[in-house]
Symmetry: C2
Subunit: 346 residues, 2 copies
């Protein structure tokens, strides 16, 4: 057996420490009309007037909002498309076609990632790893979802008129993109959000079979990852100003907080959830938002803008994703879930 070189920046079984602390130098978000009317409306770069966005189908509209978010992040970073070393992106559509079509015939080296609603967290984690390794200098992580496209490919088509129970989450029409670099040595970086740690999730399946209650299915994965994160980094919840999950929604969030308390890791009012933040209670989205674009757009707008403004300094961002598909549910399988955590500190 070959003796293995130890990983100097590995902490325990799931966590990693980024010595270079890749910096988030720009981010951008594009959302649908309903999301624009939500409480975070003023934080988004672009709010669509309609869900089709001038495209001939919802799927192409999703590709376009993703492309617009990526291009807006590139613009805000001051980069040409040809300067980008890697785009990491994924979405809820089958075979992640929203991302695939968004970047076709561009010059962007592309790596497809998938973790359902946790996709942006995986993209940040992998993107930061490419930077840490010195294999890339300029990286963008992005993710998207589109309500109508997801209903067609991921749930039931709208025309079917399936009734939504109170536990159901509303797939957001939204895209978010985040630009990462390692700042040159000695340059002024005060106040810049940096990725300092990440914890890779494991797939947890507690037997929950209801795709209209994904928040609950994702909670055990969030617990699993956060218990590992705090143990392996030696931190506790009080270290962070903000512990952001995306997306457990209202019902999942309550169970999440209660379970953290029982594990001796009280998150209390530090905890917010992207699926709760994105809509007003009266917007008829039931338990809250979901979809790969929900966490991505909330991170790329509200969270990162308030970090740059100095309101939050230490944020733990936990993407949570349900890893089933409609066929697996019809086959009687439960919903496996995953949570990836990324520590972002200004």
């Amino acid at each position: 057996m070959i003796p293995v070189q130890a990983a100097a920046k590995r902490l325990g079984h799931q966590s990693m420490r980024f010595e270079t602390a890749p910096a988030i130098i720009a981010s951008a978000s594009v959302v649908g009309p309903r999301e624009g009317q939500g409480p975070l409306g003023r934080y988004f770069e672009t709010v669509l007037e309609d869900e089709r966005y001038g495209e001939r189908c919802f799927e192409q509209a999703e590709s376009r909002i993703l492309k617009d978010a990526v291009n807006a992040a590139l613009g805000a970073a001051g980069w040409q498309e040809t300067e980008l070393d890697a785009l990491l992106s994924g979405d809820l559509l089958n075979q992640t076609v929203a991302s695939n079509y968004a970047v076709r015939n561009t010059k962007m080296p592309f790596l497809g990632v998938f973790a359902a609603c946790a996709t942006i967290a995986e993209g940040l984690l992998v993107g930061a790893s490419l930077l840490e390794a010195g294999l890339a200098a300029r990286v963008v992580a992005a993710a998207s979802s589109h309500h109508e496209a997801a209903e067609r490919q991921y749930r039931y088509p709208n025309e079917f008129g399936a009734q939504r129970p109170p536990t159901a989450q509303w797939t957001a029409t939204a895209a978010g993109a985040v630009a990462l670099v390692v700042p040159a040595t000695g340059c002024e970086t005060a106040g810049l959000p940096r990725i300092t740690y990440a914890t890779i999730g494991r797939v947890v399946d507690c037997g929950q079979k209801d795709p209209y209650d994904m928040g609950t299915a994702e909670v055990p994965a969030a617990w699993d990852t956060l218990v590992a994160h705090f143990r392996e980094t030696g931190r506790d919840p009080a270290y962070y100003d903000l512990i952001v999950t995306g997306d457990l929604a209202r019902i999942g969030s309550e169970i999440f907080r209660e379970g953290m308390r029982r594990r001796g890791l009280e998150v209390g009012s530090r905890h917010v959830d992207c699926g709760v933040l994105l809509y007003r209670p009266e917007q008829d989205v039931h338990a809250g938002g979901s979809g790969a674009g929900c966490a991505a757009s909330v991170l790329a707008s509200y969270i990162l803008k308030e970090m740059r403004a100095g309101r939050f300094r230490r944020v733990l961002f936990i993407g949570t994703g349900s890893l089933h598909n409609p066929v697996s549910i019809q086959q009687g399988e439960a919903i496996p879930a995953i949570a990836h955590a990324v520590a972002i500190e200004a």
Copy 2:
């Protein structure tokens, strides 16, 4: 604008050099009956007697062959599941459920990747990056496909009886897994396959709309990546003993070789294709094999075993993937494709 730290190991726009040259210390493959009867039959660890593999549906059978391949690679590497720092895996099923269910309730930190039939190449590339960064010490990259499950979720169900034209490729029932480490300094590594370079692909769409001719759709992406690879690394095709694509199949391979010749990059008899290698011409698979498990299983068996045996020393492995889905084809879109290249040298 923040001054950006240059990436020391980046070569041009798409390529990367792995200074640590992560070593492939083990690999394993599990294939279906038809694949076992092909010319590579003796190279596979496990050949199924039937496509269901004792599971109640084809999708769960795919999860199981993937899990078996990963566990066999772990076993061959001498690792416990709890020692693994990251599994990178993906597959053709919607929302990559074969991978998701394969690892549920295991202890493996999991990162979902998707590049259709090029998934194993992306997994190797990202896995090697985690090692290069010192963020992980033990990584497995894997991918799978299953003929019947893919026909149901990715093409037409078998019961539909769609006629296959001669350009069609046969989705392989197969899984491959590859275990990577950075060997400790000073240890004996002679003959061990090492990942030395990689070139990240871009999404190329040349307007080809026929999902029964994916090899042809993928060829321009393969050209794009290989032109970049040779330009950015300063190598030429003659440097390599073997240039392996996966999967252009018979028709795509001819167009690929002709196009490389016209670009002044003659690959000639150095070129083989996983989709051509996997089946005998009389096995009625039309143009050849495809599916994320095709390239993964051929790499994990024939290619790596012959490298360890000293028959091949310098291999350029190019995963090629079609990035459409059935809905996008029905909507009149063409097939975007991607190719990721990984240089493996013993």
